[in-house]
Symmetry: C2
Amino acid sequence: PALAQPPVLIPAPLPSWNEGPNRQAILDFVARVTREGGPDFVPPNERIATFDNDGTLWAENPMYFQGLFAFARAHELASKDPVLAQREPFKSILAGDQAAIAKFGEHEIAALMAATHAGMTTEEFNAIVRRWTETAIHPRFQRRYVELVYQPMLELLAYLRANGFKTFIVSGGGVDFMRVFAESAYGIPPEQVIGSSGKTKFEIRDGRAVLIKQADIGSIDDKEGKPVNIDLHIGRRPTAAFGNSDGDLAMLQYAAGGPGARLMLIVHHDDAEREYAYDRQSHVGRLDKALDEATQRNWVVVSMKRDWRTVFPAR
Amino acid sequence: PALAQPPVLIPAPLPSWNEGPNRQAILDFVARVTREGGPDFVPPNERIATFDNDGTLWAENPMYFQGLFAFARAHELASKDPVLAQREPFKSILAGDQAAIAKFGEHEIAALMAATHAGMTTEEFNAIVRRWTETAIHPRFQRRYVELVYQPMLELLAYLRANGFKTFIVSGGGVDFMRVFAESAYGIPPEQVIGSSGKTKFEIRDGRAVLIKQADIGSIDDKEGKPVNIDLHIGRRPTAAFGNSDGDLAMLQYAAGGPGARLMLIVHHDDAEREYAYDRQSHVGRLDKALDEATQRNWVVVSMKRDWRTVFPAR
Ligand SMILES: [Ca+2]
Ligand SMILES: [Ca+2]
């Protein structure tokens, strides 16, 4: 005979996560660090959680979405500029020559980035990215890219914030690119977004102070660059860190290196049906060394297929 | 005949500020940007206020306090190391040879900074700075340096935060040096402190991830470097900016370059009796071009002597 259920007063946290050891590990960690007087209590001002973006908070196939933005923008520029249209890499992009595009090397990528990510004010760049996020559509899912964020990770962000955590993005993606949508997509304000960056130059234009984006690289926020930038921007070790690839290993190690309870979590893409399946051999988001270390050190390795009830938000 | 006064229910803001146009300009600005539906309303997430530190939030004489820290630390290191004690610049520092010290050039300063600010983990450096803040005493005021913060500016920080502003330090001082005391002294957490920085190197030591401070300079957060770093770290234009020298001019111009109501404020040190008096000719905190531009553009120029009822907090 069925027992009477007690009334549910508070919605259960992480509703898109299936019950199991991984969801439980998250709940246990949060319970430990928030229990006042407990041995693992962390004061709210020290509750820092850092999240990789591509492949951790949103999808990264068929290529990094910022790469798709750069190609779309290059196409737009070349289609309006006959001189540019005759020059590589714009000529191949305009022609949609996939064989040529696949062979792009450092020189072509640098030219592409300079044309699409530099030579304008920061405010002009933001407006261009914003227009792209509002209009560009993912070829497989037929949604806007900002709708290809992971519903379970949105719930995890909200759950951590409800428990006093300050949530940061620490990603190899461009910092100003991500800031355009991070606040509306993830609830993460610009000042909590850390990423790769180009240099900028201060100028007075028509009596008004502006910053002009330069083609020179400032910082690559990947691998060892992640803990270095976490220290530069945040100045505390994260209590919890979330990633999906070898590019996140140093950040996860840095979080693990602090005292007390810590949470290190990797999203493992093993769901070709609902999203994509890739790890050790992938050219994007390669997960190899970090998977071994996670297994060895008992970090949480999330199976997208088994742990996530849904992948993307309902439309 | 005197009118009956209404009962005062809420303590007046900025109690250490004398009434007058400068205090009123602050109150008016905050009223405008917080009035919902008003023409100058700024949503809370966009209320960003940036403060210079040396000479704006705490004193900077007889030299930048971080310089005094470096000398004290060099003295400590040289007194324990006979080899170092025989080498310049440590020999002159150990001997207290003021004439030699006054002649230190780039080479000596670089050696001093390398010995006192590099070659250790970030956590070791923090512990050394913390010990200094707890023990070192200012020669004139006979107080710890962290007690030489400006009471009116503490009230201004608190007043802005009470009105939804996020307060940041944007200073030429070392970011990790300032973070040691910024939270207890100003209520500004490490992730809201922006400053000059050296490079750091990620290493695994005894199985634990650490960052080692390097002697190489990462970023000088002064002059045009201030708006550049504000964009890199915050990603929004400040609505309000506070400084005291020409090193803050670009930051003030950057704040002024945004739309709607803005507050640009300069602390003018004109109080030799209670603090120090210096401006156009000073080697530390020179205020010359920024004073002209502030006058011309009607920015708030605070007279320490006339506008501040008290300078330092009561003991
Ligand atoms: Ca990733
Ligand atoms: Ca200053």
